[in-house]
């Protein structure tokens, strides 16, 4: 909105036309920005062209030449060796369950703190803020030890439970500030209609705040998908690994040559790119929401 308004008002002023004529330098600035873009994207492009190159082709023509023909064997081999379909499924199921449970937990907490304004809400908020900042290293050993005691070690559930709590600490913090501004009239109207707190929550609060909840869901999903440290420690057996862990631990492997490495990187990039495209709008909006609070 602001952007279009700005443009409309400047284009009406005559100065803009003269500026355009006086400054061919503006294309120089654009060219600089495009070079920077190329530098940032280049590593991904290099990975993409080498992932579909045969090892012989790579040895003969180096990393920058386009592949002579599309060679998919590197990707297929890596996929089979790493049992990648299963890793994708593990990552997907973990991320989706964490995102759903994390949003629900954040809603409950924020309902009590933002709308219910329970006693000591400031202290609860400080608690959630600090919980959100803690390095995972300070929690990891006891969690590792306790999860072994209760038989959750090396199970996706351990990671799901831990990340649900960690993500919802952020969610509670963000959502409470949103719910503090929640229109009181809506809640009063619901109360007059005889709705209790439980019904008001599901019939009024959740539907009205759906855009924020969508942003939280997106954040939780992507953050959990990208997590490395705790899954590395908790998911030790091959069948339980998530995508980042599977890719990370294979790096020390002697069997990894240049083309296999690019192939593995490419199949790690593709899901992230798909999420990026699907969620792009929510994400940019959501980062803005996080900035204000």
């Amino acid at each position: 909105m602001t952007l279009t308004a700005t443009r409309a008002s400047t284009s009406r002023t005559p100065e803009r036309v003269s500026l355009r004529e006086r400054h061919p330098a503006r294309f120089f600035i654009l060219a600089l920005l495009l070079v920077l873009l190329l530098l940032i994207v280049a590593p991904l492009l290099v990975v993409a062209i080498n992932a579909v190159k045969s090892p012989a082709d790579y040895a003969a023509n180096g990393p920058l030449a386009l592949p002579h023909h599309l060679y998919w064997q590197g990707i297929v081999d890596f996929w089979n060796r790493a049992n990648f379909g299963l890793k994708l499924w593990n990552s997907f199921i973990t991320s989706i369950v964490v995102a759903v449970l994390g949003v629900i937990l954040s809603v409950f907490n924020a309902y009590a703190l933002g709308i219910g304004r329970v006693k000591g809400r400031l202290w609860f908020l400080v608690f959630f803020l600090i919980a959100n900042l803690l390095p995972q290293e300070v929690l990891v050993y006891p969690l590792y030890y306790l999860s072994k005691q209760v038989g959750l070690y090396d199970s996706l559930w351990s990671v799901i439970i831990i990340f649900t709590v960690i993500q919802s600490a952020f969610g509670t913090y963000l959502l409470t500030s949103v719910y503090t501004e929640f229109p009181k009239e809506l809640l009063e109207a619901a109360a007059i209609d005889g709705a209790g707190k439980w019904r008001s929550l599901w019939r009024v609060v959740v539907p009205v705040s759906r855009p924020t909840l969508a942003v939280l869901f997106t954040f939780f999903f992507i953050w959990t998908w990208n997590e490395f440290f705790l899954p590395l420690i908790f998911l030790i057996s091959n069948d339980n690994q998530t995508v980042p862990v599977a890719l990370g631990v294979l790096q020390g492997d002697r069997m990894m040559d240049a083309t296999t490495t690019s192939a593995s990187a490419l199949i790690g990039i593709i899901p992230a790119m798909i999420f990026f495209l699907i969620f792009q709008r929510t994400l940019t909006r959501g980062i803005a929401a996080g900035a204000i609070k």
């Binding site: 920005l33 180096g62 009590a112 600090i130 600490a169 490395f228 990039i269 990026f276």
Partner: protein, 297 residues
């Protein structure tokens, strides 16, 4: 009084969240702090040793080195991206969007943000391969354009490893401040810029007096979140260098990890993580104070 009766019954909704937080955050946190005063291999029961781990820690050259490396990583992850991001966001918002189109600005923004959406492990793989001494793309490219004498073992030589990691981290982080600052810039009233133009302000003056002043809240948030992220860095180090070569890229979290899971020195590892946590919490409190003061003035 009326308020408190009306608000009764909401506290129930905190119960699941609090039980979960106590189990996953409070209890492990307290345990780690307790373990940091003991000697423990992870098996059997911990033996109380008082402040031994901490005195040992402050005499450990590796501990100081790991925090020294963090200072360089703060420069690479917080300072440089924030400064570059500020300039780039202002150029995109105030120059590209106006002189070209919003479309150009948003395409460039998305491109710069791209590295941020990749899983950390994937970032490590990409750069680990590009910087690899024998089959890496960078050395191959340098050889093919006649710079063969400048090729290095970028991640394997203690002289260059940390700088290589810093470079990768700038690449990784740059998009985050750009996106944050551009969203903050939407708030600025375009009339402010027009008034500045009428007064004959240069672009640099406008940038300092209007742009930077208006997005100060975002500036705080970006600086503190990126600084905390650099204190916590683990994944990239694990995948790129594993803290090596000869501890040249050792960072506190990896140092703690090694003590926990490789050396079975759980007490010592706990002391490292406790110190790291204290640092982060202090940083967060200082930040909140500064932010509050800025908001009041």
């Amino acid at each position: 009084m009326a308020g408190s009766t009306k608000n009764r019954g909401y506290a129930v909704y905190l119960i699941p969240g609090m039980i979960a937080s106590i189990a996953v955050i409070v209890v492990p946190l307290v345990m780690t702090v307790y373990i940091s005063f003991t000697k423990w291999t992870g098996i059997g029961s911990p033996r109380w040793v008082g402040f031994d781990n901490y005195t040992r820690l402050f005499e450990d050259a590796n501990f100081w080195a790991s925090f020294g490396h963090i200072i360089l990583l703060i420069i690479a992850m917080a300072v440089i991206p924030t400064f570059l991001g500020l300039v780039l966001a202002a150029v995109l918002f105030d120059y590209v969007a106006k002189k070209f189109s919003d479309r150009w600005a948003s395409v460039l923004r998305s491109g710069y943000y791209l590295p941020q959406v990749l899983p950390v492990a994937v970032t490590g793989i990409i750069w680990g391969w590009i910087l690899h001494p024998s089959y890496g793309a960078l050395n191959k490219i340098m050889e093919s354009i006649g710079l063969g004498s400048l090729t290095r073992n970028w991640l394997g030589d203690p002289k260059y490893a940390l700088y290589s990691v810093m470079f990768v981290m700038i690449w990784f982080q740059l998009g985050y401040p750009i996106v944050m600052f551009m969203s903050g810039l939407q708030r600025i009233d375009p009339e402010l810029y027009e008034a500045a133009d009428l007064d004959g302000a240069t672009w640099w003056q406008r940038f300092r007096k209007i742009t930077v002043a208006m997005i100060r809240p975002e500036l705080y948030v970006v600086l503190v979140t990126t600084t905390i992220a650099s204190l916590k860095i683990f994944g990239q180090i694990f995948v790129l260098t594993r803290g090596g070569p000869s501890n040249a890229t050792l960072v506190p979290s990896y140092f703690a990890y090694k003590n926990f899971f490789e050396k079975a020195q759980v007490g010592y590892g706990s002391a490292i993580s406790t110190v790291l946590t204290v640092l982060i919490v202090i940083l967060a409190i200082v930040f909140l104070r500064l932010q509050n003061r800025a908001e009041r003035s």
